[in-house]
Symmetry: none
Subunit: 209 residues, 3 copies
Amino acid sequence: IGHPIFKSNKFYGLLPPPGVVIGLAYNDYGGSILYIESTQSSHFNEGRGEVKVTGQLGDVMKESTMIAQTFAKNFLNKHFSNDENVTRYLETHNLHIHFPEGAVKKDGPSAGITITSAMISLALGKSVPQDIAMTGEISLNGKVLAIGGVKEKTMAAAREGVSKLIFPKANERDVNDLPAYIKEGLQFYFVEDYQDVFKVLFPEVKIQQ
Amino acid sequence: IGHPIFKSNKFYGLLPPPGVVIGLAYNDYGGSILYIESTQSSHFNEGRGEVKVTGQLGDVMKESTMIAQTFAKNFLNKHFSNDENVTRYLETHNLHIHFPEGAVKKDGPSAGITITSAMISLALGKSVPQDIAMTGEISLNGKVLAIGGVKEKTMAAAREGVSKLIFPKANERDVNDLPAYIKEGLQFYFVEDYQDVFKVLFPEVKIQQ
Amino acid sequence: IGHPIFKSNKFYGLLPPPGVVIGLAYNDYGGSILYIESTQSSHFNEGRGEVKVTGQLGDVMKESTMIAQTFAKNFLNKHFSNDENVTRYLETHNLHIHFPEGAVKKDGPSAGITITSAMISLALGKSVPQDIAMTGEISLNGKVLAIGGVKEKTMAAAREGVSKLIFPKANERDVNDLPAYIKEGLQFYFVEDYQDVFKVLFPEVKIQQ
């Protein structure tokens, strides 16, 4: 019957470069993991915090990127005031954020915490391990709001060998409703504020309160 | 019955100027080679890394050019830090990238590694021999993702006398499935990361790790 | 039976001002000559190489003008490096390129070499005699690609008293297929690279290799 049609969407090893985070998406065909890649987009021309976005994003996701950028700047400014390189990073560098695969249209607000994490990972110069995936809308002050497709996203994560899942606290009951066999081997973190997300991704980094 | 209708799409000799690379494309009528030409677009006005794109590109291919540009800058910055002319080239020159033939509408992400190679060839001032053709989507950090039309693209390359083909590693199984007569005389390189592409195109250039 | 319906499209004498070149176009009604006029568009405001285009051009022809501009700059920069006035002309002057007649919609890539010649004629300050007409798509590095409507364009040129025709080399076989009576009194030049066009238009100008 030939090769298995299904192929993994994963194309990074366990520890990708800083700025790469795994999100969770779903559509009519089910769930899938979704990489978000962010890098510096210039090295010599003076950076001004401009963000270039690619990956066929719809309007809501473009705005989600703007929200994530503003919040990430404020988050770093508030919690890393003793380290100017970190606090100034997102304002003195131009970034490019890409949502592979290039031809797939993507929209919706649920990549908010994922985009935020990609930028913060880049600013800190710290990788996010690829056994973690996340999904959650983010508000301008970092509150994490409910999303849809909990079942599809959970199944997609399990299928791709992702073991740690970050979901909004508001979706805890949806996860609890899922049959046990779907959740087998998976560790869930339910978050209300971006600080909670940060602690899962960068447990070794102490942040100023 | 008059002249053969089919004519070659090749219009460069074996060694074109730097900045010219052969890609592979396909549509409902089959595969074809696709030149990607890149040149400096100004000499006196101070360059700022702006990129002009022509060739009737659709949205996905325009974004693919943005991704290739960002990645090429980061690739040169990382691997040629001892040569400022190279690392600064894509930020201190304005470029024009053209996808002949001018009237044919083109779209899709699979020219990613080809566009990247055209810019890097230009920045290094090194030509890419015309017996090499390539196809592959590129991610923002240089991962090479799967493409479609493997059979059509392979047949087009063979028809045009291209002997070396660079395909994504994820398409190796599709190539293996092709009947032997199609692959006769062709050398395949399966790549996962842009560094693999670079080694095929510029074997004599040592890059810093 | 009144005036002859057919009237000539020619409205310049044998030697027009620099920047005016005759192209060849065709549509469902047959072929016609097509003037391309280019002039400086400002004298006091500092020129930056901006190009204004009029004549109801479609997208492909607008891109063809961008390609011609980039190539013309590189051509002058490469072959006239001892004359800064020439090499800097297209970057330190704002131009206006017009394709009369104003109400006729025009599109397609086949005016590439014509637009290029109009700009180079302007930069050199040398007129192009009106007994020459040309047609050919141009690539970013000056390769001349095949066009359509060879018969219609040849008949239009003959009808207008144009005696020298520049066609792409790739169309030589189409010209050879034309009946002799159509080609009577016409001189054909088949070109593969813009340098070949240049030599026909400006035989007295020696260019640096």
